[in-house]
């Protein structure tokens, strides 16, 4: 049986040495490019006709736009409009990355901690910079919830700071672990199909079919969770509680 973790191996396709740094185009990089191309194609072809009464593809493009616009409006408010392009790009990038990764033999770049952690750190740093730019030193009152007795401060402030610092970690690990676990599970069950033969192979095959459907849900859900949490962090940064 093949190693179920083998699917996550990064393979160099076009070696590009950039001095000391290895900037090679790998299977991960290729699927990032494909994801961006798919998103652009989806939105360009969808909005090609600019119909007053939208067709199927245009409806999908508009729904994805309004989905994120609504998410920002509900979670951040009108001040979040500035960050709409970033949040939209983030959502589409993760969603399409997850979905394209479900195609057999495709690579899922969101199953790598390096990628998810980089995105989470960008969100974390961006949100912190926005908060400090908006509130200055007042930002640090964020770590002492209002209405808490002063006696509790020595206990609560470290916990709050720790929970704040753990945001990028939980954000990145949630996405990476979900994608990796799902793909590993599918691979493990797939590995049982042929060895169990024509009689017993149906059971893992059925499980894999169900898992595939479940992974589609997870692909969407994790993109949604990542984006919603980004919106909540943005809200915290703009409104401080």
């Amino acid at each position: 049986m093949a190693n179920p973790l083998e699917q996550f191996t990064i393979k160099t396709l076009i070696p590009i040495p950039l001095g000391e740094v290895d900037a090679s185009l790998t299977n991960s990089g290729l699927f990032m490019v494909l994801t961006v191309a798919a998103i652009s194609l989806f939105l360009t072809i969808g909005m090609r006709q600019r119909l007053l009464v939208p067709g199927r593809w245009q409806s999908l493009a508009e729904i994805s736009y309004e989905f994120i616009a609504c998410m920002i409006r509900d979670n951040v408010g009108s001040e979040g409009r500035k960050y709409f392009p970033f949040v939209f790009s983030l959502f589409m990038f993760i969603l399409f990355g997850n979905l394209i990764g479900l195609i057999p033999y495709a690579f899922t770049f969101t199953s790598h901690i390096a990628v998810t952690f980089a995105m989470a750190v960008v969100v974390f740093l961006g949100v912190t910079i926005i908060a400090i730019a908006r509130h200055g030193l007042h930002f640090f009152t964020f770590f002492l919830p209002t209405g808490v007795p002063k006696v509790m401060a020595p206990v609560l402030v470290p916990i709050e700071i720790l929970s704040y610092l753990s945001r990028p970690i939980s954000l990145s690990i949630r996405l990476f672990a979900n994608m990796m676990a799902g793909h590993t599970m599918m691979k493990v069950f797939a590995g049982f199909i042929i060895p169990l033969g024509i009689l017993g192979g149906w059971a893992p095959l059925t499980v894999d079919v169900a898992l595939t459907a479940f992974e589609f849900l997870v692909a969407f859900l994790q993109a949604y969770v990542f984006t919603v949490l980004t919106c909540l962090y943005l809200n915290d940064a703009i409104h401080l509680h």
Binding site: L5, F8, D22, S40, P85, H112
Partner: protein, 192 residues
């Protein structure tokens, strides 16, 4: 409270993962923890995400928002138009009701006028006819009186003749015609 939970959860996950990875990295070599692949992943992530962000913010999103705005404008416009059309229709309906009432009144007036005209006409015609009939009656009465006078005269003559001849036959002597005529005329006038 949930922040605390998330914090504890994420720390425990992290601890668990480091435990799992530190053992499994040596055993299976988890591809995710191969640090040599990080630079290329990050470089391509930055390139592709920057490209995506540029494309979304410059081209795709403005285009979608433009279409959505246009649609909203169109809907608002049509609603406005519908309201104005409705107002126009209401005005037209009012005018129609007004015109109808006017026409009805006019028709009523015409009917009344015609009615009075006909009544007047009938009255004059009737009066004329009555007059005519009266005149005719009067003329007839006149002629009757004339005829009566003539008849009376004739009767007087005849009576005179009859009386003259009667008395002549009975008494054998002829009376004066003038006297008899006078007497008979008197009698007739008395009886009348």
């Amino acid at each position: 409270m949930w922040k605390l939970k998330i914090a504890i959860l994420s720390i425990s996950i992290l601890a668990l993962l480091t435990c799992v990875f530190s053992t499994s990295v040596q055993a299976a070599g988890l591809p995710q923890l191969d640090i040599t692949t990080f630079p290329s992943q990050l470089i391509w992530l930055v390139i592709t995400f920057a490209a995506l962000f540029m494309m979304m913010s410059r081209i795709s999103l403005p285009r979608i928002s433009q279409v959505l705005e246009e649609r909203q404008h169109k809907i608002d416009d049509n609603l406005k138009k519908a309201v104005s059309f409705k107002e126009e229709a209401e005005i037209a309906a009012e005018a129609y009701t007004k015109a109808q009432a006017e026409v009805r009144e006019e028709a009523h007036a015409i009917i009344m006028e015609t009615h009075t005209q006909i009544t007047d006409n009938m009255a004059t015609k009737q009066a004329e006819l009555a007059e005519e009939l009266e005149a005719e009656i009067k003329a007839a009465e006149g002629s009757i009186i004339d005829a009566k006078v003539i008849a009376m005269a004739v009767i007087a003559d005849v009576a005179t003749e009859v009386a003259l001849s009667t008395t002549e036959k009975i008494s054998g002597e002829a009376l004066n015609k003038k006297d008899i005529s006078k007497v008979i005329t008197n009698i007739l006038e008395e009886r009348q």
